[in-house]
Symmetry: C2
Amino acid sequence: MNADESKPFEPKRPRLHVAMIKEEDGFETNKENNSQDEEYFKSYADISIHEEMLSDAVRTNAYRYAILKNYEMIRGKIVADIGAGTGILSVFCVQAGAKKVFAIEASSMAEQTESIVEENKLSNRITVINKKAEDVAYPEKLDAIVSEWMGYCLLYESMLQSVIDTRDKWLKKEGLMFPATATLYIAAYNDEEYDARLDIWNEFKSMYKVSMESMKKCSKKCISRNVKVRSVPPMSIMSHGQTVCSIDLKTVTVQDLHNIKKQFKLECFGRSTIHGFITWFTVTFPGDITLSTSPYSEDTHWGQTIFYLEEPFDVDQGTLITGEFSLCPNNFKSRFLDININYRVNNGPETKKYYYMNDCIT
Amino acid sequence: MNADESKPFEPKRPRLHVAMIKEEDGFETNKENNSQDEEYFKSYADISIHEEMLSDAVRTNAYRYAILKNYEMIRGKIVADIGAGTGILSVFCVQAGAKKVFAIEASSMAEQTESIVEENKLSNRITVINKKAEDVAYPEKLDAIVSEWMGYCLLYESMLQSVIDTRDKWLKKEGLMFPATATLYIAAYNDEEYDARLDIWNEFKSMYKVSMESMKKCSKKCISRNVKVRSVPPMSIMSHGQTVCSIDLKTVTVQDLHNIKKQFKLECFGRSTIHGFITWFTVTFPGDITLSTSPYSEDTHWGQTIFYLEEPFDVDQGTLITGEFSLCPNNFKSRFLDININYRVNNGPETKKYYYMNDCIT
């Protein structure tokens, strides 16, 4: 194992522990979602998430450049910042000349947002509103909506729905969306540490004189059970990335987000073992500014999202992995995702794998 | 910050997500606890916990040596292994000559325990029982109980209660407990990375031209809110450790575990800033074998447990920190802990701080 080549980290963005309230406990769907919202907003009241997001200079500078370089689009305009957090994007908008920014923050973090606005002497330009985006009544229509709504695998957290709601109700017809587009990619993934992780069960035999070979099968199953978030090295990517979801923020509907389904065809680069699929995303802003979470770009706190197979398989150069990727908010807990990846290797049989992207991502 | 001097890690032992089922949701205490048990056992069905515990050679070898070196006490005896996991302690007992071992494992891990027993050709000596310890009826009285029941801060998880229940119902009067004693220590703690963590809010100003000084106060509050688990460097310990809880496994009662309360008096080593209190524990086995999680000993997966103060304070050599430490299982979720630390510096005013050690430990 080479520590430099894989940088595991603990995902800090919300993991939405409310998962543990189960359907069997007799909750209605609505109550369920309200309750999940409550936990969701609570998670953003914790400061370590904001430390992580601001420490991610790739992320924060992408927004900063996008807003400042497009100052002509923002100067004199009315802007909403959905999920403002510390309010940093709102401040960028004022720095770009916005006439008025509404910083919408549903969590108790709003108190800090307000302090930061005061500290920067911008109370006359930024109004902090401690409400859910859906419940805000603006005094006038909006010229632009700025939001950092992206979760792991782009759509975890399902915050985009609140942005769409605000857009539909309040954005002027010619209004701007920051970001303007989002794209999710899939590729074949080789984990060079995979075998070492299984080999640990052999090591225990020499360490403790107890044979544990039988744990390997169980270990494979466990590894494939939970979705992982990691920053992986470029060399672990075994095919080109292929688009499985393209979003135009001006036109996408909530319904669209429930119907993400795309065929993919991945041609392998060379002889290797495929341990899973990996996804990453990019978002773009006006003026060709892109924020990328690709393994070929500088690391971000989003890392990439790994979907391990129960049975890894070997490939050669040109081996074709064809399949279908689909993604949908979970019926009961809409901030979690149901993801299905069905695939076949060359002309082999189809394998279907379901992933529940809940608070057990690690 | 010096990466070598502090080794943060993600606590893998159960964090018991069921915390999110709240009292307001109308659960009865019993149902609550059953539900928490379910999640508790589920957490041990995940293989990564077992990988971590077995990779912790300090822990596993302490049990191995304790069992093998005390083979005269175990040879020909009837033993129960409470919370057997992979069953490794049961195998050690057979290696030491036990006539029969009952490996009690309530989680679905029991299936793997069974496979490992078969793989080691010990089915005639080890009987795996997939039940809660409290529900097991043994065919005869026990000569010894072996269990690795210790959680973070010794008592998180509250598994010891199941061990006590088995002891009271099934252990022969002259029977053995492995471990035999447990001791919890407290000391004053200096976190050399604390200021750097607050300074990050200054750094953001130079990075993004947005002032965030006001986040520091909020950051202090957030840091002190959740209990942390880390392996800290010895130099961060600013006083001798003082015992706040001593357990004799042969005599301790469940009631005793609800009345842990101890005065402490910590004399500081030298000029420093105290950011919190830190606890660690040791357990001993017959024959003077000790497993220590002290910061002066080799790291274990338990690390130490840090209780941050809301307001750090400066001390000199000889500064006295006197106070009271109390610990109790939470009323509603008995696997979580309520911890109160009241303290005063020299003759200063008393500060009282409550910590809820739930699934938010990080």
